[in-house]
């Protein structure tokens, strides 16, 4: 392929990737509400357009046309910056996710997994800065909770994938998926899978781990003062976050694009969609834990489990090579 051809193909991948991602995230807001409805024996939004799909458009128009309000007591620069960080970090994290060997923005990156972890780590800034810049006690409490939650869950989210890296021998996500041609890593790394997914929920601060928002105690937590499209960016960021975490779980543990009969892209989509639906099921089913329960669950259960997982994986691999 010539240089121009590579550039065109690369730009096409980026534009298409972003378009698909934004559409999927917007659609996900509607899908979530419909699915929640199904699990709560009610229809959900079903008025606008066929099956209520146009609800997405209505919500988008509403968010765009709301007054772009910055409270007088807020720190205006940081206040505007925070939602931008929320969007940018999750969208950058998408860049390394390979849907198939051909579809992916910079999928063939030798530190792909580290890049993803780094971006989800940077995502903390959006929430903390939003809480700080709002200059509001509930927002600040939400931001502090978010900082503690994301930093501590980041620890074993990173550690839980070490087992996968050991098995695949690479940080390159393409290589990791290729290593699962015969067996998905969810089988030897079941603990890692569970911990990574729980960490992913905490990382996207989705229910039941939405303590930074905690409607009933903090009023909406870090985004109490946000409205209009700035709130919309947090909202979209959260939904893109769900998609990214689901896609990463698919890539790391569920064999990425591998599967019989159907084309690879479809397999990737099915697996990711299944995990996204599971995210929503969690929201429908589980109550939010108390904050100290949540922290002790992380440090006293998840962290030892992850370390044990690494230890066991290492021991098995050592035994396999020494025989």
């Amino acid at each position: 392929m010539s240089a121009e051809g590579a550039i065109v193909a690369g730009s096409l991948n980026i534009v298409l990737g972003l378009a698909v991602l934004m559409a999927a995230a917007a659609l996900l807001t509607w899908i979530e509400r419909r699915l929640l409805g199904v699990w709560q024996d009610r229809p959900g939004p079903n008025r606008a357009g066929p099956f209520g799909v146009l609800q997405v458009v209505a919500d988008g128009i509403k968010l765009l046309f709301k007054q772009d309000w910055i409270p007088p007591f807020a720190d205006p620069v940081v206040f505007v910056l925070a939602p931008a960080i929320a969007m940018v970090t999750v969208m950058l994290a998408v860049a390394v996710v390979p849907a198939t060997p051909a579809i992916g923005i910079i999928a063939d990156l030798n530190i792909g997994l580290l890049f993803f972890l780094a971006m989800s780590g940077l995502g903390v800034y959006s929430v903390v800065l939003a809480g700080w810049a709002s200059n509001n006690k509930f927002s600040l409490l939400g931001g502090m909770r978010a900082a503690a939650q994301m930093v501590s869950y980041e620890v074993f989210m990173g550690l839980s994938v070490v087992g996968v890296v050991m098995l695949a021998g690479s940080f390159n996500l393409l290589e990791i998926v290729r290593g699962q041609q015969h067996m998905w890593y969810v089988v030897p790394q079941f603990l890692g899978f569970v911990v990574f997914f729980i960490g992913g929920i905490a990382e996207t601060h989705r229910l039941p781990f939405d303590l930074p928002e905690g409607e009933n105690e903090l009023g909406a937590g870090f985004h109490t003062e946000y409205s209009g499209m700035k709130f919309g960016m947090f909202f979209l960021g959260e939904y893109i976050g769900i998609i990214v975490v689901s896609a990463m779980t698919t890539v790391l543990f569920l064999g990425g694009w591998y599967g019989p009969v159907l084309p690879p892209v479809l397999w990737f989509g099915i697996k990711t969609g299944f995990l996204v639906a599971f995210f929503i099921l969690l929201r429908a089913a589980l109550p939010r834990p108390r904050y100290d329960q949540f922290m002790s669950f992380g440090w006293k259960l998840m962290l030892p489990l992850t370390l044990l997982n690494i230890l066991a994986t290492g021991a098995v691999m050592l035994a396999a090579t020494s025989i």
Partner: protein, 170 residues
């Protein structure tokens, strides 16, 4: 930990259950016959108004939404006007319980929205229906001792002749 999985599974099973929600304007919900909705004034089997304007409904009403005025023609009491302000009514049904003649009754109809609040004040013409409601055979003046044209004292159902206090005969 197990309880989390049980909850997840239980919630998932709701996928196969029918919606509780009824899509109201397209699909009418079933209302029980004793549903407490729009208030009506019923008539005797003879077609006369049942209301004897005793004011008990107005007294029982906790929000004072009923107002009426007694009038009388040849021994029959009837309301000169009877007015219910439905923007105040809380559909508690106390008026129906208080009514001694089964005149005031609540019906399974709640579609009475108005754009103008004044239109929620129902007059007697709006409240009166031509039927007998829930008690088809009841007729107050046929069972009570009150004398009206065509029915003197002692001529009601299961009523004895009045005692002649001027006579010594048994």
């Amino acid at each position: 930990m197990l309880s989390v999985l049980v909850t997840l599974w239980g919630t998932f099973l709701h996928l196969f259950q029918r919606n509780v929600t009824v899509a109201y304007p397209e699909e009418m919900p079933y209302l029980a016959p004793r549903y407490r909705g729009r208030i009506v004034l019923t008539r005797d089997p003879d077609g006369e108004e049942r209301c004897v304007s005793c004011y008990l409904c107005a007294v029982a009403c906790p929000v004072d939404c009923i107002s009426l005025q007694k009038a009388e023609i040849e021994g029959r009491w009837y309301p000169e006007f009877f007015r219910i302000n439905f923007s105040r009514c809380i559909f508690c049904g106390f008026c129906e319980e208080a009514c001694p003649t089964y005149a005031i009754q609540l019906t399974p109809d709640f579609e009475m929205s108005e754009y103008d609040r004044r239109n929620l004040v129902y007059e007697k013409e709006d409240l009166l229906i031509s039927g007998t409601g829930k008690y088809p055979d009841y007729n107050f003046y046929r069972v009570s001792g009150a004398a009206i044209p065509g029915k003197d004292k002692g001529e009601a159902e299961r009523e004895r002749k009045p005692i002649d206090t001027r006579s010594l005969l048994p």
